[in-house]
Amino acid sequence: MTGYFVRRVLWIVPILFLVTVITFALMHSVKGGPFQAGESKSSDAARQALAAKYHLDEPVWKQYGYYMRGLLQGDLGPDLQQRGNSVNDILKQTYKPTVELGVFTTIYAVVVGVGLGILAASKRNTIVDYFSVGFATIGASMPNFVLGIMLVLLFAVKFRFFPPTGWIESAGWRAVVLPVISLGSLPAAYIARITRASMLDVMNQDYVRTARAKGLRERMIVFRHIVRNALIPVLTLIGPIAAGLLTGSFVIEYFFAIPGIGRAYVDAILGRDYPMIMATTLLYAFVVVIANLLVDFLYAVVDPRIRYS
């Protein structure tokens, strides 16, 4: 088993290497470049000088060589949109809101999802169950930006509880609420469904019947015997969900004007800002790979029946 995880960790290196190759090839096959005629007032000569400065006039494989040499020394390259800044600088400026948004949203999704799921399953086929399931279904039936629009209209425009845009630095802690609910409700509903189904599944197990036959108190049965086992499949969902929230928050970042990496990434793709595209893809790929590894590891820890080979 240890061997398995050592192999998995080592395997991260070739995966990330292939990610750099694929991304580099893809982004250089996008039509147009960062310094295009007509886009700015700069002359042809100036554009050529810029292209030469960033090696853009050389063959792609050579550019890849330059890039990788820098990358291995921790240099992510110059930012082509905000010239004078390095990509390292931009990431330093933008990572915080994205990480905060991702972490808060994951917590929200897990707490609300697991809570609703447990509630619905333990009050099965009662009004509480229907209400929880209905809430989870409807909450998840809209893309996050539609939910965002509705929340902003209601809680920022009509009742001025929360600021409509901004993030902690510019608008205070209240600014967190609406983006987190918008982004987290779909995964919360998903977690609630899985939790409920898993709870119902565990409730029918023999050891639960035994616990009941022993005369254990109901609360003890639910939390000691049911919830603990029912949460194992949920646990495995948290990794991909957290990774998805960290890397998929750009629409919400756009909508709520949150100065995070997601926004910077989309701007970089549209502006053909090659070093920035590379850096963010690589960073996100790293997050996804680590999240998945962590899940498999946790899975083996909490469920001794799981054996990898």
């Binding site: 395997w11 995966i15 990330l16 292939l18 990610v19 694929i22 991304t23 893809l26 982004m27 096959s29 996008v30 039509k31 147009g32 279904t137 409807i138 998840a140 039936s141 809209m142 893309p143 930006f145 539609v146 629009i149 209209l153 425009v157 119902l200 990774a243 998805g244 890397t247 998929g248 750009f250 629409v251 756009y254 997601g262 990434y265 989309v266 793709i269 549209l270 595209i277 963010t280 893809t281 996100y284 790929a285 997050v287 996804v288 790979v289 998945n292």
Partner: protein, 314 residues
């Protein structure tokens, strides 16, 4: 419920079970008709299927159903509330929202279904190839899957969309299909893993071993025993995949990368309506409601299909 229908089938089939069995040999009567029976008993799933059918028909016959062409502009009738001339009102450009919602269904359902076709083809080739192609193929294909899986989904879609938009493919099939293709090329990983896992599990089941022992050919075992048994989870995954692809496309259109006006699309209608949202919510309400309705319908149908196709789940 499952038990219910099982006993009923047994009861009606009781007089001459063996004969019936022989008559229907070769046709997948048991599994599919039984599943259909169970599906019809699931009220929510039926409602979902009916709504999907209605939206689908409206999309196909959009030119006949929609009161106006989707790009027609009514001068002076800007962001109107619903009325007798414009049932859903009008948008900022003075276009009829009902007509645009109906034409938008073409793009949304189209994206949902096309993307699933692309996903299915890639996933069957990769997942099936990995399960049946021997150790080397399995290792290679699954490592490739790991790499694609490492990319952040939505952002990878945007990158691919930008790449494809500049190629000859885009010139032939149009920008719309490029969006479909980008979503499909990113979304096959989970299904491929599902198919591989399912097939590997099936290889060790008693009936496949029995078939092998009886001397059935490899092709026959795959086509007859393994594919049909892989089909159920695949159908369910594809059904849930449709609304997810629709959401992805709506998201892209919302940030201005997917389908752009004057083409009608639920995502870009919502973006467009957001510009005047403080004046009136109607231009946003209808495409958002259409998205939600479509999502819920596929969700209910997917739930129903899962319960119907897998009798072991309660």
């Amino acid at each position: 419920m499952a038990q219910d229908s099982a006993t009923r089938t047994a009861a009606t089939g009781a007089p001459q079970p063996l004969l019936m069995e022989l008559e229907h040999r070769g046709r997948a009567r048991g599994l599919w008709s039984d599943a259909l029976h169970r599906l019809i008993q699931n009220r929510l799933a039926v409602v979902g299927a009916v709504i999907i059918a209605v939206i689908g028909l409206a999309a196909i016959f959009a030119p006949f159903v929609a009161p106006y062409p989707y790009e027609q502009i009514f001068p002076g009738q800007i962001i109107e509330a619903p009325s007798a001339t414009h049932f859903f009102g009008t948008n900022l450009s003075g276009q009829d929202t009902l007509s645009r919602t109906i034409y938008g269904a073409r793009n949304s359902l189209g994206v949902g279904i096309f993307v699933q076709v692309i996903i299915l083809v890639i996933a069957v080739l990769v997942g099936g190839g990995a399960a049946l192609g021997g150790k080397t193929a399995d290792g290679l294909l699954m490592r490739m899957t790991d790499v694609v899986y490492a990319f952040p989904d939505l952002l990878f879609v945007i990158l691919l969309q930008q790449v494809l938009a500049g190629t000859r493919i885009a010139a032939y099939v149009g920008g719309l299909f490029v969006v479909f293709l980008a979503i499909g090329l990113v979304g096959w990983v989970n299904l491929a893993r599902l198919i591989r896992g399912q097939m590997l599990a099936l290889r060790t089941t008693d009936y496949v071993i029995a078939a092998e022992a009886l001397g059935a050919t490899r092709t026959r075992i795959v086509m007859k025993h393994m594919l049909p048994n892989t089909l159920s989870p695949v159908i369910v995954a594809l059904t849930f995949g449709v609304p997810s692809a629709i959401f992805t496309e709506a998201t892209l259109s919302f940030i201005g990368i997917g389908i752009r006006p004057p083409l009608a699309d639920w995502g870009n209608m919502i973006y467009d309506g957001y510009g005047a949202v403080l004046a009136t919510p109607w231009p946003i309400f209808f495409p958002a409601a259409a998205l939600a309705l479509t999502f819920l319908s596929f969700q209910f149908l997917g739930d129903g299909l899962r319960d119907a196709l897998d009798p072991r789940t309660r």
